[in-house]
């Protein structure tokens, strides 16, 4: 990261007389994109003062799906305006001459997104309160419909979100080239049991433990909006409950934090929408399949893209968790 170029950018973009960067280091969170802490002091201009900021930019290799940084910035700005607890977005830079990649800056929010520490109870505060807060954030997000201004960067809502996801996953699976019999089993089950379309709402697309910040007292902010889009609200709920996102606390089906029923109760109370368990089950099978194909692409960033990352390489061994979930969830209930 070129600190001098970033300092020049901050000066010009904010109209400051000068800018100093006291700290610049990569943050541990973010498997797909990179997040950097930027402690900066600006004299004059629209951001005068001392700030702790987060710079979010593309990873060294790309996943090839999801929003680019410009679209993610627009979504973040719109959901922030809608009252959802996210870091306040500040500046977008699409000029690759600055740090080599597009990036945006947002306010730093205290907390950590470490899934293991959250499910262990080190972070997030009291578990029932945490899951209730997450449910309220999700209900607020799902109240946003395609009629809402500020989301022009998103693709138009699909007529049938389930069908659209099925097509996407089938395409990504076929592109992998290797045989995946359990994923094929899951695809066939999903086709046979597809639910009727729901009215599309704004979905986070990666709403899970590990993608929100928490401190010792509780939730602080919802992160990582690169997969946001119009979809079925049950997609976010199914994704949140998927086994691999429980970080070892398998018995607490709501993200390793609480019982599934606690999440459903809090979400229903906040949204006024009744959750149909069978629809969530369908979306949870879809979540397992979707995480499987994303894991294959993550692995390929290492095996094909050449990024020497042990984390990415080990992601190549995670499809077995998804296969376990597909087979479990498609058992007769």
């Amino acid at each position: 990261m070129n600190a001098a170029a970033l300092r020049r950018y901050l000066t010009e973009a904010t109209g400051a007389r000068s800018a100093e960067i006291d700290e610049l280091r990569r943050l541990p969170d973010g498997a797909v994109q990179e997040n950097w802490l930027v402690a900066a002091r600006l004299e004059g201009g629209s951001l005068a003062g001392g700030w702790r900021l987060v710079l979010r930019t593309d990873g060294a290799t790309a996943l090839g799906i999801g929003l680019d940084r410009a679209a993610e910035f627009q979504v973040l700005r719109a959901v922030h305006a809608a009252g959802i607890s996210v870091p306040q977005p500040l500046l977008l830079c699409e000029d690759c001459a600055v740090i080599g990649r597009p990036f945006f800056l947002m306010h730093f929010i205290a907390g950590a997104a470490a899934g293991e520490r959250i499910v262990a109870g080190e972070l997030g505060g009291e578990r029932q309160a945490l899951v209730a807060r997450l449910a309220r954030e999700l209900a607020l997000l799902h109240a946003i419909t395609p009629a809402h201004p500020g989301f022009a960067c998103l693709a138009p809502p699909p007529v049938d979100a389930a069908e659209a996801r099925l097509e996407q996953c089938a395409r990504l699976l076929a592109a992998d080239g290797a045989p995946h019999p359990v994923a094929e089993w899951g695809l066939r089950w999903l086709i046979r049991h597809a639910p009727p379309p729901a009215e599309p709402v704004l979905c986070h697309g990666d709403f899970r433990t590990g993608n929100f910040l928490a401190d010792a007292q509780g939730f602080t902010a919802l992160l990582d909006w690169e997969f946001a889009g119009w979809s079925d609200p049950d997609e976010d709920i199914g994704w949140f409950c998927l086994g691999p996102w429980r970080f070892g606390a398998y018995g607490r089906e709501a993200g390793g934090i609480a019982a599934r029923a606690a999440l459903y109760r809090a979400y229903e109370a906040a949204s006024g929408r009744r959750i149909a368990a069978e629809r969530v089950r369908w979306w949870e099978v879809m979540a397992a399949l979707r995480w499987l194909v994303i894991a294959l692409r993550q692995r390929d960033r290492c095996l094909i893209g050449g990024e020497r990352s042990l984390d990415l390489a080990l992601t190549g061994r995670r499809p077995a968790e998804c296969e376990f979930e597909i087979l479990t969830l498609t058992e007769a209930a």
Partner: protein, 146 residues
Amino acid sequence: MRDPPDAAFLLALAREAEAQGGDAKLAARARAIAERERAAGDAPVERLRRALAERYGEGRIEDLLCRLAGEIRAGAADAPGPARAALRTLLWSMTVQKLAESNPDYLAAAEAHPPSPGRRNSPSSGPCVSLRDRGRPEASLGEGDA
């Protein structure tokens, strides 16, 4: 049958990560996977190859897995009946074997915590039967699928 990357690649990256002061937990996980696979040897892969060869005839495991995936994709397991039950049993054995090498903690956690009532069968009903009672008549393992 083992998902890539292979153990040698994982070990090489683990050594690099350790040399660079990287995440020790990740390096330990990579080493543990490699060790479990070394201890198991080729037997699990050959066992699966033989099971597939019984369905499709002799061949390389990669080709036989392609046949299996193609058969499922074509809808061979869509209709309830013994054929679907047999396929499910085969898929469970493959999956549990992979998970036992890649993430045995996940398997143990899932088996220790039955899912919430009314949502699905116990996860242990599939993999444990297929692993522990290899050779039992597949139809007796249950049909599955709503």
